[in-house]
Amino acid sequence: MDEQMTPVSAWERVEHAREAARPTAKTYIDGIFTDFVELHGDRRFGDDQAVIGGIGRLEGRPVTVIAQEKGGDTKEKIARNFGCANPEGYRKSQRLMRQAEKFGRPVLLIVDTQGAYCGIGAEERGQGQAIAENLQLMMQLSVPAVAVLIGEGGSGGALALASANRVAMLENAVYSILSPEGFAAILWKDAARAKEAAGLMRMTAREVYAMGIVEEVIPEPPGGAQEDVQAVAQAMKDFFLRSLEELDAMDTSTLREDRYRRFRRMGDCGLDPQNG
C-alpha cells in the first residue's frame, strides 16, 4: 500500500480515473438498478445532461438515483458537457432529492466530474448558489443518502452530490479540491507540475480514506474497473445495500444527526484543545 503514497502512483490513479475506457455512471446505473426511469429537468431553466436523475429499484426497493455522467463517445461527451454540470444540474438534483424525501426514498448518488462547469452562463445563473443550496439540502434530507465516487471527484462540483451519510470511492477514483493541473497552476503558476501536485494533494482513494473523508474504498480489478464492470457494479451495489441497512435503523433525527456529525468532525483535528 505504501507505493501508492508516491507521486507517480497518485498520478497513475489520476490517469486511471480519466481513462477513456473507464465505465461511466450509466454503466453502473444499468448494472445496479432495475426498473430505472429517467426524469429530466430542473423545472427552472433546462435539462442538464451532465446529471442523470431518476427512480429505480435496488433489490426491489424504490430509490432515487442521481449521477454525474461524462458521456461515452465524443458526441455524447459534448452533449453531457464532459460531466461538468451547470447550475441546472444541481437544481435538477435538488428537485429529485426533494421528491425522494416526499416519497421516503433513499437517495443514491454516483459522483464523477472534473468539477462544476466554469462558463459565463453558469455564473449568470448562479453556479455558486446552486451548489450551496444542494450541499445544504443534502444535509437536511430526512431520507438516507449514500454516494460513490467512481472516477474524478473534482471540487465543489463533486462535493455537492457527495454530502451524504456514507461515501465510498472506487479504488482508482480520485477526490480533490481541484484538478492537479489547476492546483499546480494556482500554487506554482505552472500547470505542467500536475504530477507533482497529485503526489502532494492526497487525492487517491486510499489517502482520502486515511483522512477519514470516505468510509470505504471499493476494490477494482487489475487494469481498472473496465476489466470487470460486473464485479465493480456488484461491489457498489453491496456498498449501497450495506449502508442502507445501517441507515434504515435510524429514525429521521438520528439520520440527520449522523450526517451532521459526519461533516462536523472534518477539519477539527489538531485545533486548539482549549476550545475542543
Binding site: 462558463g119 454530502s163 483522512m211
Partner: protein, 307 residues
C-alpha cells in the same frame, strides 16, 4: 454601472489592499508575500502619508481615505478592509466579544511550505486565521458575527476558518441570535486539500440548522468573494447584501476565459451584475451598512418566541 466597471479595470485582482498597508506600518516579510505585494502603485514611503487609489489612480492623503472608511473620496471605490477595520465600522463600539481568537488550523496534508506561509500570514495580519468571529451588537441589536480577512492568505477557507464559522453559527442557534457574515475569500485553502473542501458542507449544515430554528442569516459580500465560499455560506443568506463593485463569483475570471475561449461581458461578476441576475438583494455603500443591517435586524427582532 458602466463607468464603474471602467474605473475598476486597472485594479489587479490581488493587489495589496491600501487598508493593509495603512494599518500596518511594518513591511511584511518576504514570506508574507502571500497577499502578494504586487502593487507597483505603492512604495514604502507613500504608504505613510500618500496612497494611490487603485481604481481612479488619484494620489490621496492616506488620512483622507482612512477617515472615509477606506472609500476613495474621489471615485467612491471601496478599498478592501481588514477584519478589525470592518468590525470597527460595523458594530457598536465596545460591543464585540471575540470567540475562538486563538483557534488555529494545523497542516493536514503536511504540505511543503504551508507552515511557513501560515506563520507569515499570522505575523502580517496579527490574526491566527482568516476569519474573526464573535458576539456584537449592531445599532443595539445582538448578533453573532463572522468577518473574513482577505489579508490572511487571500481569505481562503481551511479547516480553522470552517471551524470558526461553524462554531459561531452553532452558538447563534443555541442563543437564538441572528448571524451576520462578511465574506471576502479567494475560495478554499489549497494547501489543506480536501479538508478545506469539506468545510463547505460543514458551514452550510450549521447554517441549515440555524435556519430551521427560524433565525435570520444575513450575508454581506465584499470584494472579492469567490470559489468555495461563494458555493457555500456566502450564497445561503436569507438576505444577501453586497458592497458596490465587489467581485462575486464561483469560478475565477481567467479559468472561465480559458474554458469558454471568449472575453467576458462588461461588469461580469461585479456585485451590480450579480444583483441584476437575481442573486443579491441589495448593494449597500459601506457608510450605510450599519444602518441597513440595524434596520433589517430590527425587522426580524424576536422579543419572545413561543413554544
Amino acid at each position: 454601472m458602466g463607468m464603474f466597471d471602467k474605473i475598476r479595470k486597472n485594479q489587479a485582482m490581488i493587489s495589496v489592499p491600501l487598508g493593509a498597508a495603512a494599518r500596518k506600518p511594518a513591511r511584511p516579510s518576504q514570506e508574507a508575500a502571500i497577499p502578494p505585494a504586487k502593487s507597483k502603485e505603492m512604495s514604502p514611503e507613500d504608504t505613510n502619508i500618500f496612497a494611490k487609489c487603485p481604481a481612479c489612480n488619484a494620489v490621496l492623503f492616506t488620512e483622507d481615505i482612512t477617515e472615509n472608511q477606506m472609500v476613495c473620496p474621489r471615485c467612491q471605490h471601496h478599498l478592501r478592509l481588514s477584519a478589525r477595520q470592518r468590525l470597527g465600522y460595523t458594530v457598536d463600539e465596545g460591543s464585540f466579544v471575540e470567540m475562538d481568537a486563538e483557534l488555529a488550523g494545523n497542516d493536514p496534508l503536511q504540505f511543503p511550505g504551508y507552515e511557513n506561509k501560515l506563520r507569515a500570514a499570522r505575523a502580517y495580519t496579527g490574526l491566527t486565521e482568516a476569519v474573526v468571529t464573535g458576539y456584537a451588537t449592531i445599532q443595539g441589536e445582538p448578533v453573532m458575527i463572522a468577518v473574513m480577512d482577505g489579508n490572511f492568505m487571500m481569505g481562503s477557507m481551511g479547516a480553522a476558518v470552517g471551524e470558526k464559522i461553524t462554531r459561531c453559527v452553532e452558538e447563534a442557534t443555541r442563543r437564538r441570535l441572528p448571524v451576520v457574515i462578511f465574506t471576502v475569500s479567494g475560495g478554499a485553502r489549497m494547501q489543506e486539500g480536501l479538508v478545506s473542501l469539506m468545510q463547505m458542507t460543514k458551514t452550510s449544515a450549521a447554517l441549515g440548522r440555524h435556519g430551521e430554528a427560524g433565525l435570520l442569516y444575513i450575508t454581506v459580500l465584499t470584494d472579492p468573494t469567490t470559489g468555495g465560499v461563494t458555493a457555500s455560506f456566502a450564497m445561503l443568506g436569507d438576505i444577501i447584501l453586497a458592497e458596490p463593485g465587489a467581485l462575486v463569483g464561483f469560478a475565477g475570471k481567467r479559468v472561465i476565459e480559458q474554458t469558454v475561449k471568449q472575453s467576458l461581458p462588461e461588469g461580469f461578476q461585479r456585485a451590480e451584475f450579480v444583483m441584476d441576475k437575481g442573486f443579491v438583494d441589495a448593494i449597500v455603500p459601506r457608510r450605510e451598512l450599519p444602518g441597513r443591517l440595524g434596520q433589517l435586524l430590527r425587522l426580524h427582532h424576536q422579543e419572545v418566541r413561543h413554544g
